[in-house]
Symmetry: C2
Subunit: 413 residues, 2 copies
Amino acid sequence: MTSDREPHLTRRQWLTSAAVIGGTAVAGGSLGGILHHSQGATTASSTSDEPTDDVFFGHVREPFYGPHQAGITSAIQAHASYLGFTFHPHATATDVVRTLRILTHDAALLTQGKGALADTEPELAHTPARLTVTVGFGPEFFDRAGIPHLRPPHLAQLPSYRIDRLDPAYGQTDLLLLIQGDDPTSVAHAARVHTRQIRSFAQRAWTQHGFSYARGTHPQGTTMRNLMGQVDGTHTAHTQASDEHVWLRDSDGDRHVGATTFVLRRIAMTLDTWDEVDRPGREDALGRRMSDGAPLTGTAEHDPPDFEARNDLGFPVIAPYAHIRRAHHPDPTVRIYRRAYNFNDPPTPDNPHTTGLLFGSFQRSIPNQYLPIQNRLAELDALNEWTIPVGSAVYYIPPGVREGQFLGEQLLT
Amino acid sequence: MTSDREPHLTRRQWLTSAAVIGGTAVAGGSLGGILHHSQGATTASSTSDEPTDDVFFGHVREPFYGPHQAGITSAIQAHASYLGFTFHPHATATDVVRTLRILTHDAALLTQGKGALADTEPELAHTPARLTVTVGFGPEFFDRAGIPHLRPPHLAQLPSYRIDRLDPAYGQTDLLLLIQGDDPTSVAHAARVHTRQIRSFAQRAWTQHGFSYARGTHPQGTTMRNLMGQVDGTHTAHTQASDEHVWLRDSDGDRHVGATTFVLRRIAMTLDTWDEVDRPGREDALGRRMSDGAPLTGTAEHDPPDFEARNDLGFPVIAPYAHIRRAHHPDPTVRIYRRAYNFNDPPTPDNPHTTGLLFGSFQRSIPNQYLPIQNRLAELDALNEWTIPVGSAVYYIPPGVREGQFLGEQLLT
């Protein structure tokens, strides 16, 4: 698998060259948006069986090793597959460690554009396109691993909400694999390889596919629109959460430094009734304009909403029931880091609700950050009229690792 | 919805500028691969609610009007949704014409980056990313439209094959919408809009989602790999079929000039047993190398296979049962134009076979071109061991139209 060929000039390298050659203001301006698309990502070196022509981003890699797992706060990818696994009844604590060693070993290879151990189709791994594999532990994991005393406090299934119509097919599992990338083929390959490699110990309970804009179709930093047409996640994704809201730290216990927690909510949309709502009605329900996502009190997407503003009649411009008002908790420590994808599975005769949002929320503490917001939304949110939570699960996301460690090692050794 | 802003410099325009500024050999060489990616495609002009920053290909459009429908022989897109519709029992021939007028009107808008008529989320249409909508008519369509005498001879469901395990959930329908594009969001939006707009006349019987490599991850012209890891479709897609194999012509009748026919086969892969086959076994079954798709008698993907070549022991290098030998009909008029996508739906408890290939074949004549090849493959093809046809349907693809016409107008007026 070695080659005498020179590594070829990647798209990115060429752009850098062009900027040097051109050296004009317009070139510099345009490059800014491109080269910063994947902050922290690196470009894979060429090997003999990678494409040899020019590509835009097939070879771009997200680092696997680090203080945090990849795929959490980096720029959102175009595709995501969420895989929930349950351990076999006979799986022992030793098997749990084996599972994590295998997952870690393979993820470290796949995300860097290399075939996994005994990969039968390694070529499908060669264009990772920012592939990341993020591993999470459900509440029962800690029992199965023989470390119930290390389960983070309050890592438990969410309380039931009046708005929920939960389908057990998308319920809590022992293990989560969140596989994200800008190419659906390498994401599909990673999902298959991981599932096969750990099948002696755990089986897949569900798979949930999601997508955002294809990379290259929108400028870097564009907030996704969901399938209701709304600019989705402006506030929670871009302006509010910071490191202190996301990562567990010393005071949470040495073993947890760099970890986080994750809530996955599968939220179906009832688009047939949403269709009946006119544009002003939609904007009133959300509190933002449909055209560009600007709050109804502002002129641009990232303008802070003015929740005090009133119209000529004295009514709040952003209605009391508007989603952005309800999602905004007055306590500035109550913030989440959101990462969401659209889903749009083929409808089936017994399930028309196959379009919606895979809502993901990362936070240091589920009870202190996620629940207060979720409680407000469950109590009152105009969008509840057209959305149905149909799946719900929570996970502890262990810290990142350095080479030679396995994910979860901080807990298990 | 008008704006005083100047149209912004698109990625493509900027690259052209850069080439002029740079004027070097390396710039010219790299640009070749980029600017020719979408032959015949044009770049949408800027409007007020399109993104204003730099993008790669969100605005690129495939022309809607022309002698043939779009989405057939143009470069394959990254995403495809196949939607099968059946007319309501009460739908009249007039309703069929209404349906086609609506579909044509909306497709002409959506593919050019504009919201459809009464589109409730027009913003989701603004980055078409080579969106195409291709419309097909099943055999029963001609009865419903009151033109049974115009049904092309031999447009009928395929004969049953021993290898088939057909699921009626993916069976023949009256109408096909093949929606393709490089962005999954605009594809999802187009699928939803079309379904809604014609729901008074027809209902969706099935939806099948497929994907290829994300645009920008592989060099232009790269043959896709399927989820068995094979370089898939080298011969049929690139070297064999030409206009004479695809388009109906004068001798087929005036009304059909520029039309074609389409066979859609949903082919599940039994990857668990494929996993047990080693690399030489896989190459023997296919007749090509796994690493680069070269025929076993050649050194590069596009080398013509030498079916006469024998090894030292006197056996054929490409086995008698190898897929590429069986798929190669000795009569050079027996050629098809293939357009295939991977599918990888979430597995369900009652259906583990949710990974495979959406095999599509365009040809002038199903009985003269598709069936002879299909018969050979059904009779003997090593890959049959790991593939199961689970869906099958055939469609007449009417000619393209010019502005003011509707798809099917050549038959219906």
